[in-house]
Symmetry: C2
Subunit: 805 residues, 2 copies
């Protein structure tokens, strides 16, 4: 403590009174000297790498060619998009990093982010390995399904396949997170630097950096599943005499989805707690108590706050979207396979591989969208800053139009069958339903969170009567905002189901069977622009960080203005992405639920078509499922609250012990705040994460035993099914509530900061800041974690199904 104080008292800090020269904190050094794989890969040994890469590619294409031409197409598109993403990085990295004070700040952020990432993923990987052992153990002692047995699959093979898929999913999910953070900690300073020149250029850099990680994340999800699929296909000799049918193959991939969602859950929890604890803590003392602006260099928690944007928003969202896409692809593949089997379609591979193709096209059309955002304005520059939202929206519209075209094309290519010649058209309409649903979700979220519309203005008005009415109004707004999305989702489930149902596909008894697959196609439609959506999402935290760097390095007001506009747009895109994510999660959970019932039926060797909530135990399962959502949200929020209190106490301590900070005479100890937040969020992520993983297993296992003693067949599986279903419904509503309330509070504050209702510094603004603080853990910790939780519950029950039987 003493020599820190001495450091702080050194002369130089007093010389340049508006900033501190060295933001890099010594205290954090032990953590940050990290082996940077990516740098090694990109720097040295380029030739060896190239040879290895070509060899690998050759093997992959060989296996792909032996599986299906569709797989070869998917591989090609993915590899092209990887090449494109390498071009995007090169382009972003070639931009200048600005003056040294910016670089120093950026370095401090990068050190903090990479240090936390390394520790966090160290913890996560240990837990993943432990879980892999558990899965291995379960699968070695369980029975196989009759189909699997008849195809000569052995227990050990099945166990190995599931564990390998789980670990690969976990690894890819980790890489997806890392990529998101890797580019954002490099792009932020380049955006700040570009903001000194032109708003348009800054926008372009942020979009391209976001585009890089979006292409990598989506491409990796697609190619990972495609490689697994092709490998299993060739290895198990699928479709040859006496071995497995191709329609049963997708069920072997569920481990991948579970691995992905397992890592994403902890990434989102840890990152979410980190970012919001730092943010809330910094704001409570900085903005509210000391009255200094956001991202002011005098605030000891400011670097932790900026680090949080990267580990919370970039890394976690990368992992989240990765697992969303992976889970949805796998569940749609399972449903496609099941339907193809029931309808005895001659070549089922089109139905099974359809999701992979849709996402390959997603990569193509999103790239077009990303590149449509140019560095120079189209006409002569009239106003200094164009509306960046309009530019992004234009790109989105282009992507949407292209997606309608490619979706129609794909359905005609892959879903055409002699048995029902017009079925593909019905499925194309299902896709359209999905695309419209996505658009409606984006619009509804905008309506409830943008201050151009009524709800946020009413919320801002409620702040004039104090903190209390602001919170009441925000909570009501959030609760109310669940209604329209639920109506949209309900409409799209029912209509997609009926479009599929009437597609003309029938099983051997003549019953229509396409309904569920129709819902799957609608989900695919919704996700058909995922890469562009993810680009817009990643754009937000990069712009936010750039703004922070600009503020901390005390750039002129005009530069700050540019990054402020970008930041505000980023807030809106972040909110809309969440709406989009929860909408697709709602649709996907319904698919995963069906896949679970198929899986149970296959293992139990009896039909499992109903979940009857009139049975008391099943009703209890539902109660427990909904309760899980409430408890999980509680723990996620209180984790932020507790960690934020630690930050507040530390920041208060520094302000008291180092009175010179406020006059720029002493340097705050940024490193200590970073270290406190990092260790606290690692500690706090365990409890909610463990709850999510342990409770469905425990409930299923307990009721299995109860069912055994009371002679109730399949009781465990039924109770888990109800738990899953109720948790999904409650989770969707709770996530919508948390996300929208948080977003609305944030923007109500921003609206008041534009000068409305008294503007900055008024009592009304103070009340709005309280709302914003409350909204932070809602919208960035608990809400997004619930998206992941919903899908993780579905995948964990799929993988763990054998122990409920």
């Amino acid at each position: 403590m003493d020599d820190e104080l001495e450091n702080g008292n050194l002369g130089p800090y007093a010389d340049r009174p508006r900033t501190f020269p060295n933001m890099r904190s010594k205290a954090y050094n032990p953590l940050v000297r990290t082996l940077n794989i990516f740098r090694i890969l990109m720097g040295i040994n380029f030739r060896v790498l190239l040879i290895l890469l070509f060899l690998g590619l050759g093997v992959v294409f060989y296996i792909g060619a032996r599986t299906s031409p569709i797989i070869v197409f998917v591989f090609s598109v993915c590899i092209m998009s990887f090449l494109l993403s390498i071009y995007l990085t090169k382009w972003v990295l070639s931009k200048d990093e600005g003056p040294p004070e910016m670089v120093q700040i950026s370095d401090a952020i990068r050190d903090g982010a990479e240090g936390f990432f390394r520790t966090q993923y160290g913890t996560i990987s240990k837990m993943a390995l432990l879980l892999a052992l558990v899965i291995l153990f379960i699968y070695l002692f369980r029975n196989l399904t009759p189909q699997q047995e008849s195809s000569g699959l052995r227990r050990s093979t099945s166990a190995f396949i599931t564990v390998a898929a789980f670990l690969l999913g976990a690894l890819c999910s980790g890489i997806a997170g890392y990529v998101g953070m890797w580019v954002s900690v490099r792009a932020n300073v380049r955006v700040s630097s570009a903001a000194r020149r032109s708003a348009r250029e800054a926008l372009q850099i942020a979009v391209r950096a976001g585009g890089f990680s979006a292409l990598v994340v989506v491409g990796m999800a697609v190619i990972g599943i495609a490689i697994l699929y092709a490998t299993f296909y060739v290895w198990l000799g699928v479709d040859s005499q006496g071995s497995m049918k191709v329609t049963d193959l997708p069920l072997l991939l569920v481990g991948y989805g579970f691995g992905a969602s397992f890592v994403a859950l902890f990434a989102q929890l840890g990152g979410g707690i980190y970012t919001k604890a730092a943010d809330v803590g910094a704001d409570l003392v900085g903005k509210v108590e000391q009255g200094i602006p956001e991202d002011d260099p005098r605030n000891p928690a400011v670097i932790a706050d900026l680090v949080g944007d990267n580990v919370g928003d970039c890394a976690a969202r990368g992992a989240d979207l990765f697992e969303s896409i992976a889970a949805e692809i796998i569940s749609a593949m399972i449903l496609g396979g099941t339907m193809a089997r029931h309808c005895k379609i001659e070549d089922p591979s089109g139905f099974i591989l359809f999701p992979l193709v849709i996402h390959s096209f997603d990569l193509v059309i999103s790239s077009v969208g990303i590149f449509s955002i140019r560095g120079k304005p189209d006409s002569s520059l009239k106003s200094p800053i164009e509306d960046p939202m309009a530019i992004l929206q234009k790109g989105y519209s282009l992507t949407i139009v292209l997606s309608v075209l490619t979706f129609g094309l794909s359905t005609r290519w892959l879903l055409y069958t002699e048995r029902a010649p017009s079925a593909w058209f019905n499925f194309a309409l299902c896709g359209l339903v999905g695309i419209i649903t996505a658009y409606a979700f984006v619009w509804i979220t905008k309506y409830y969170t943008d201050y151009k519309h009524e709800p946020v203005r009413t919320l801002a008005l409620a702040s004039t009567t104090g903190h209390g009415t602001n919170i009441i109004a925000g909570v009501s707004l959030g609760l109310e905002s669940t209604a329209l999305p639920v109506l949209v989702i309900s409409l799209s489930i029912v209509s997609a189901f009926w479009l599929g149902h009437t597609s003309g596909l029938v099983d051997k008894d003549g019953n229509p069977t396409g309904g569920l697959f129709g819902t799957a196609v609608a989900t695919m439609g919704m996700l058909s622009t995922a890469a562009y959506i993810l680009t817009m999402d990643m754009f937000g935290p990069i712009a936010d960080n750039a703004g922070g760097i600009v503020e901390m390095s005390q750039q002129p007001e005009s530069v700050r203005e540019i990054t402020d506009v970008l930041d505000a747009v980023g807030n809106t895109t972040k909110a809309t992405t969440k709406g989009f994510a929860i909408g697709s999660a709602a649709l996907a959970s319904f698919l995963l639920f069906s896949a679970y019932m198929d899986e149970v039926a296959a293992f139990a060797q009896e039909p499992f078509k109903q979940v009857d909530i009139a049975i008391p135990e099943v009703f209890v399962g539902g109660l427990l499922g909904s309760m899980l959502i409430f408890l999980f949200s509680a723990w996620a929020c209180s984790a932020v609250g507790r960690t934020a209190q630690e930050v507040v106490n530390e920041v208060r301590r520094q302000f008291i012990e180092r009175p010179g900070i406020m006059d720029y005479k002493e340097k705050p100890d940024y490193g200590r705040c970073v270290a406190i937040v990092a260790s606290a969020s690692l500690r706090e992520m365990i409890k909610p994460g463990a709850l999510a993983i342990v409770s469905p297993i425990a409930v299923g296992f307990l009721f299995r035993i109860l069912g055994y003693y009371t002679g109730h067949l399949l009781l465990g599986a039924k109770v888990v099914a109800a738990m899953l279903m109720f948790a999904t419904v409650s989770g969707i509503l709770m996530a919508l509530f948390l996300n929208t309330a948080g977003g609305a509070w944030d923007n109500a504050k921003k609206y008041i900061e534009t000068g409305a209702l008294g503007g900055k510094g008024s009592e009304c603004h103070k009340a709005a800041v309280t709302g914003d603080t409350v909204g932070d853990p809602f919208k960035d910790t608990a809400g997004p974690s619930l998206h992941v939780l919903i899908k993780m519950l579905a995948t964990i029950t799929l993988v763990m199904a054998p122990i409920f039987l």
Copy 2:
């Protein structure tokens, strides 16, 4: 405006600087000159009344005697308890009303409460009449069940019965509300006056006043159902050749439950909005902005706040508990009848009338509990104030012990059957499960809302870091507090079901059938001390009001101390009653749900035993059900927020326009605040109320049409079943969350006010006040309305079932 100012400037107000002599407001006079039925009934024409009463009693007993000796027993107990309640009123009214300044305040409160009650129930009764017409119309054009047809029941009779039951239920519910309010506006001033003498006497008056309305409410629910049952029995010639079976009779009573819950919903909504809008509005300007204490006579909204306690807590809670008990008795009677029919029990009346007997005993043992609280301390007075909670708790323990005894007795008396000689013992155990559940609920609520325990202390600690962390911590606490009650409910549903299942009762195929009835008996066990619980609940607002009167009439500190202690105890008992209410609602909803399925099966003439949530439309029904809860809560909270803002603006206006108020030189215009709150809450209660009533009907009807066109049988009924089930689960969780969070915030503030963490006036206290403000609409508007909503959904679907088929 001008002459108001002139009035305010009159001399006398300046003479006695600490209070205002005339609290009765002229502005409100037109509303308050109300025809007071009760006064007329109790005052003049006593002999005529007596003769009429005896005549009525004679008829009732004659009908009862023709039905069953059990009915005669029920009648006798109810009438005795009515006599007892008349004694209690006389006793309470015989107490002195204290000095004139107290009487004046009390009169102003009474005028406000009765005026609002009259307008509110005017609106409600118009809506009830409209709904009665709709029901009549539906029942005139629907088919009867085969059993009903074979028993010679005609459509017009069935329609008349349902409508008559509905209207009687609505009327009794209204009277229950009125009785609660009637006594509380009279007892409050007597408690204040007694508090000048002794804490113990004040406590006794409050308890006996609460006991009066509790006995009336419970007694009326029981006798109302008993009279309906006996009348229908005699009128329809039940059990005679060729007419209706007694086991089908309870299904005719559902209208009564629906009428009760319909009125209770609007009573709770209107009253809840009134009380909390006034409270929040008064606190926001008074406490937070002007820094004057709670219930200070200078606050223009103070009379509205005190009126709110009566119309919100007393009247609404009376109606709420009335409908709880009515709905639960009816559903248990239906289940008892169904089971008796399946098991071909020789004399089914024991099983059907069991709930009525349990509640008759409830009246007896609760009276013992109420009278066990004596006016004088047992030993010599050592401390000036004993812990009133301990006294109430002692009474509760006595009641609980007695209830275990009477419950065992009743099961042996009524549920003994030759077919399964040990069944009664299993059912007695079910009752014990229920009693333990009630006790556990009370304990859990206390743990989460009492500041003697960890959670509230943590919440108070979170207030030290500001408004934001206080809210985050409160929300997490509320969300977390749902876990234990859900586990308890789950355990009791499963164990009561299994106790019933293994009771030895079997249907004609030898399948065990007692499971559901076991759950019903557990619910009865939980409610077997309802009258005592209601007494403790009513005690709260009376004490609160007494405190307000003491404060406003500027009594010495020692008197205020006594009412403060009573008020704090009232807060705890209020919170625990809510836990108890939601627990019993959870159990009861499961019964009502089964009754609904029986009803649909009877009408559709085919088995309806499953609600399969794997069907997309049924899943959508579930989604819509959960959404209904969120939207309803949103609208209930925002209604309070909006009305509170009106109050805040009015109070601010008065403080600005009448600067003399703060120095007691000008009198505030209480009447205007009362009028504003009254008209706003009547306006605001319509939207959420209409949502609750219209949405299940609309959803059921829409999906019935969809089912008709797609050939899906019973689709409407299935979707409504899922909607009901999901709404119940989400409703339980949401209500637990809202109630507990609100209670905890309230007590965290109280804890700080004891001097902890800086005490009154500190920054920490301000943050805690914000939390308390937010918690107000949570715990007293949205939360309790959800209890009613859950049961109203169940009864509305029961009554409206014909239009979903």
